[in-house]
């Protein structure tokens, strides 16, 4: 081989990917060409340095509380080996209602649940309408109220997301994109709040922050579902 070896040839040579004839040609060239030998050595060093890069990293916070919370919802908070296998407890509801019926049901649920969550997490903010119908003994001091509120919240979110899934095609793609971006941002805030609460369960500030973001998500989904309804 009279010309210099290309970088691609050197890569394939280093990894033993060249056909035998080409491999010998490159090998012969390398014996005669200091420049290509330097290039090969530099590439070999780079490969070694990449191979030596750490393959473990530590997240800035413990992610388990949120994972546990998410899989707990999937598994019905299964604890212990006696519980059903994850694949068996996975809940996937089938949509059997027309979109408009589902929408009507879910909006009602969303309003109630959003209110429940807000009251439960913020310690009882009085408001009119559906929120006012929420029993006021659901408060920060009562873990049972917290759990109930979160369950209802997730049911509401799930229902609204199903409406969106059904009606996704009737919305403008740009609207869907913006909607997804906003939901993603809200979910990030919710995740952060939950992680912080796992470290400091008694913080009312964190609960209010979490509650606000849960309510924002319900509100956004609610408006999106209404848009689906309006276009169906």
């Amino acid at each position: 081989m009279k010309r210099h070896a290309s970088f691609e040839e050197l890569q394939d040579f280093q990894e033993g990917l060249l056909p035998p004839e080409e491999n010998e040609a490159v090998r012969g060239h390398l014996e005669r060409c200091p420049s290509c030998r330097r290039d090969l050595e530099a590439f070999s060093n780079l490969l070694r340095e990449m191979g030596d890069l750490p393959r473990e990293a530590e997240p800035s916070r413990d992610l388990w509380p949120q994972i546990e919370w998410r899989i707990g919802r999937e598994a019905g908070a299964v604890r212990g080996a006696e519980g059903p296998a994850p694949s068996d407890v996975k809940r996937r509801r089938q949509i059997t209602l027309p979109a408009w019926q589902l929408l009507a049901a879910s909006i009602t649920l969303a309003l109630v649940s959003g209110g429940v969550v807000w009251v439960a997490l913020s310690g009882g903010i009085r408001d009119s309408g559906p929120v006012a119908s929420v029993p006021m003994d659901v408060s920060l001091a009562q873990p049972a109220g917290w759990e109930t509120a979160l369950d209802e919240y997730h049911d509401a979110v799930s229902d609204l997301e199903e409406v969106l899934e059904v009606g996704r095609d009737v919305l403008d793609p740009e609207t869907v994109r913006i909607l997804e971006e906003n939901l993603q941002a809200i979910d990030s805030a919710i995740n952060e709040a939950q992680a912080a609460l796992a470290q400091d369960p008694g913080s009312k500030v964190l609960r209010r922050f979490l509650a606000e973001n849960l309510r924002r998500k319900i509100d956004l989904l609610h408006r999106a579902a209404a848009a689906v309804y309006a276009n169906t």
Binding site: L53, S60, P86
Partner: protein, 190 residues
């Protein structure tokens, strides 16, 4: 051994006392403590992968959560044909790639390391001993080039495995890796 002592044993450092295979079997039976032990054992590997592929520490933490939630959902489908760590790692790659496709090209472009200084600081803090110049150069690569480079040269995937994961021809993967290495070499001034 009960579920709680198992998790505590792992937390207190006796990580080798219970095999991953045992933990997997218990997690497949619905034991979330065993699954937590798996998480504690493998989160570093999964987070590092997510961090390099997403270039965003916060996004990497979200993706890591998604990987473990997906793994829990699919524990029943793990048959032991491969090592669990291999299965989980492959699942993580798929989750990250799928998330990238969902976010779309536009956002991916906008999501280029917005603050290289912050990214580097986080990488140094979360990956002690790493080569920051190489990490930054890798992070600056376009999505496709970075993905194949990380999978091949850091994670050690074979060319045909990457082709299968990406759903592209073997020749395409080779060309992508050639290009990615060339870009990296130029970025590092080699």
């Amino acid at each position: 051994m009960g579920a709680l002592p198992l998790a505590k044993a792992l937390d207190t450092g006796s990580r080798d006392s219970v095999s991953t295979e045992t933990l997997v079997e218990r997690a497949q039976g619905g034991d979330t403590h065993a699954f937590e032990a798996i998480y504690r054992r493998l989160v570093g590997r999964i987070y590092a992968l997510c961090l390099r592929m997403s270039r965003d520490p916060q996004r990497a933490e979200e993706l890591t959560q998604d990987v473990f939630v997906r793994a829990w959902e699919r524990m029943g489908s793990f048959r032991g044909d491969s090592r669990f760590t291999t299965w989980l790692h492959r699942l993580a790659v798929n989750v990250v790639l799928q998330a990238g496709r969902t976010r779309g090209r536009r956002e991916s472009r906008e999501h280029l390391v917005a603050d290289p200084g912050e990214y580097s600081a986080r990488v140094v803090r979360e990956m002690p001993g790493t080569r920051v110049d190489i990490e930054r150069a890798i992070a600056a690569l376009p999505d496709g080039a970075r993905t194949v480079l990380v999978l091949r040269d850091i994670e050690g995937y074979k060319y045909d495995e990457i082709a299968e994961i990406q759903g592209v021809a073997l020749g395409t993967v080779k060309a992508q890796i050639h290009r990615a290495r060339r870009m990296l070499r130029e970025a590092l001034g080699l």
